[in-house]
Each structure stands twice: as structure tokens, then as C-alpha cells.
Symmetry: C2
Subunit: 154 residues, 2 copies
């Protein structure tokens, strides 16, 4: 059997594991209780006010069945609102609350710090190269997962 360190799948899992741990630690140090997933969802809601759940899921490549629970928790924490769409009665429009906006603003330094920490073993140039290669591999594999990235509809 190949060494685990030769398996991109194993390395992907490990890097993601560390990335999540670093994110949670930094955010908790800053006095907040928000997961990476919840953060990405909230930031995307703020950037696209009134979007529906499927669009949100596409913008951050979450499964539509996962996004339901994530939004539940954002709403429960008072950071976002979910209300029926006027144009399509199947859909829910999402909005960030003032509290959500405040949280996003205050949490940003911790989030950026986390991104630096998870690359701390690499030089700036290596970090850039890692991100470039990940972006390239992800772009080629986008359609292979059930939850591919999707552009917003206009």
C-alpha cells in the first residue's frame, strides 16, 4: 500500500481538519461562536441580500440539504432572517440582521488570522502557489461532487 503522504485524498482530509481547528480556535479566542461553514454562509448572505437558499448553497458549494441546518443555526443565533419569497412561494429569502453585520465586522480579524495560521509552515510564495494549485484542482473537479460551485443567476 502507498504511504498516506502520497495520497492527495488523505492530505486533503488532514489539511481541512487543521483548517477547521485553527478557525474555531481563533474565532473562540475573539469571543465568538461561529463555525467556518456558518461564517461563509453569513458573509455570502450579507454580500447578496435577499438571495434564496439554493443560490446561497451554490455560491459556497454546500449541499442543499446541509444549508437548511446551517441557516437554522444562524437564525437561531439571531444573525440572519429567513422569510418567504414574494416572487416564488417555494423559496425563502435570506437577510443578514444588524447583529449579524456586527458579528461579521468584529470577527474578521480572527478569520484572517486563521487563514495565516493554517499556512504558517509555508513562505508567502508557497502559500500563494498552494492556493493556486488548489483552485486549479477544484475547478477541474467542480462537477464531481453533489454540491458544485454555481454562479449567481442574474
Amino acid at each position: 500500500m502507498k504511504d498516506n503522504n502520497e495520497m492527495p485524498g488523505h492530505l486533503a482530509r488532514r489539511f481541512q481538519q487543521i483548517a477547521v481547528a485553527v478557525f474555531l480556535a481563533e474565532v473562540e479566542d475573539a469571543g465568538f461562536d461561529l463555525t467556518p461553514v456558518q461564517y461563509a454562509a453569513l458573509a455570502t448572505i450579507k454580500a447578496n441580500p435577499g438571495l434564496d437558499q439554493v443560490t446561497l448553497a451554490g455560491l459556497i458549494a454546500y449541499d442543499r440539504t446541509t444549508i437548511t441546518g446551517v441557516i437554522d443555526r444562524l437564525v437561531q443565533k439571531g444573525l440572519a432572517e429567513r422569510r418567504p419569497s414574494s416572487r416564488d412561494r417555494r423559496a425563502r429569502e435570506l437577510e443578514i440582521t444588524d447583529e449579524g453585520r456586527r458579528t461579521l465586522r468584529k470577527i474578521t480579524p480572527a478569520v484572517e488570522s486563521a487563514q495565516r495560521i493554517m499556512l504558517r509552515g509555508l513562505s508567502a510564495k508557497e502559500g500563494e502557489e498552494l492556493m493556486r494549485l488548489l483552485r486549479k484542482a477544484i475547478a477541474a473537479g467542480n462537477e464531481l461532487s453533489r454540491a458544485p460551485l454555481r454562479e449567481a443567476q442574474l
Copy 2:
């Protein structure tokens, strides 16, 4: 807010998401039902007969509370055995079964194919470089997660 594509944490999540989807698809095409996590555990049990659960967890960087369920499922599928250790009555010794050995052997092509597919957007040289950078970042962050990689005790 920064673009998601500038966040290593987001890229880590996406790459891992695709890696798991590719693995599961290849393995299912080959006629098997084994997750990436179960595969890594089974392969490590085979390579280290009689090891205990904590050692196994350390070798593949799983949390000790996660490994319990993973082994439950391997045992339930008849691929591994869990029996009390003779030297330490707290510990369980793990062994691969003949069926587990057969499964590992037959599944290997699918696993290797999956590793290639998840890098299909990259040249061979780029794939190597991505793995090198991931290994380096992971090594620097190993202690930051609750389930760091651990060498086997002798």
C-alpha cells in the same frame, strides 16, 4: 470581505469535498461500499496487525472518539476484528480478516484511480508540488487539531 478563493480554509474544504466524492464514486464503480476513512483504517490495521485503537487513530490522525464508530462499521462488515488485549485490559487489539484482506486487494485500483482523478486538473509536476505543499503545511499545523498524527510506539 475577501473572495472565498483567497481563503485557504475554503479551498481546503472544497478540495476535500471533491476528494471524498471521487473516492466514493470510484469505489462504488468497483462494486464496493467503503468510505475513505474506513479504507485508511483498514489499510493501517493490515500494515500493523494487533495494534490498539489509540495507536490506529494516531497513525491516521483520527480522533479517538471517531475511530470507535469507524471500527464498529468495519467489524460489522466483517472486514476487521476487535478483541481484548492480553497485555492491557483497557485496550482492544485490531486485526484484519481474510475478507478484509480480499477487499483491500480488490479495491486498490479504484483507490489509486480516485487519487489520479482528484488531481486531473493538474500536470504531474503540479500534482507533486501540491502534495509537497500540503505535507509541509500539515506538518506545521499537526499539533493544532485535537487528532494530530502520531508515530507508532515501539
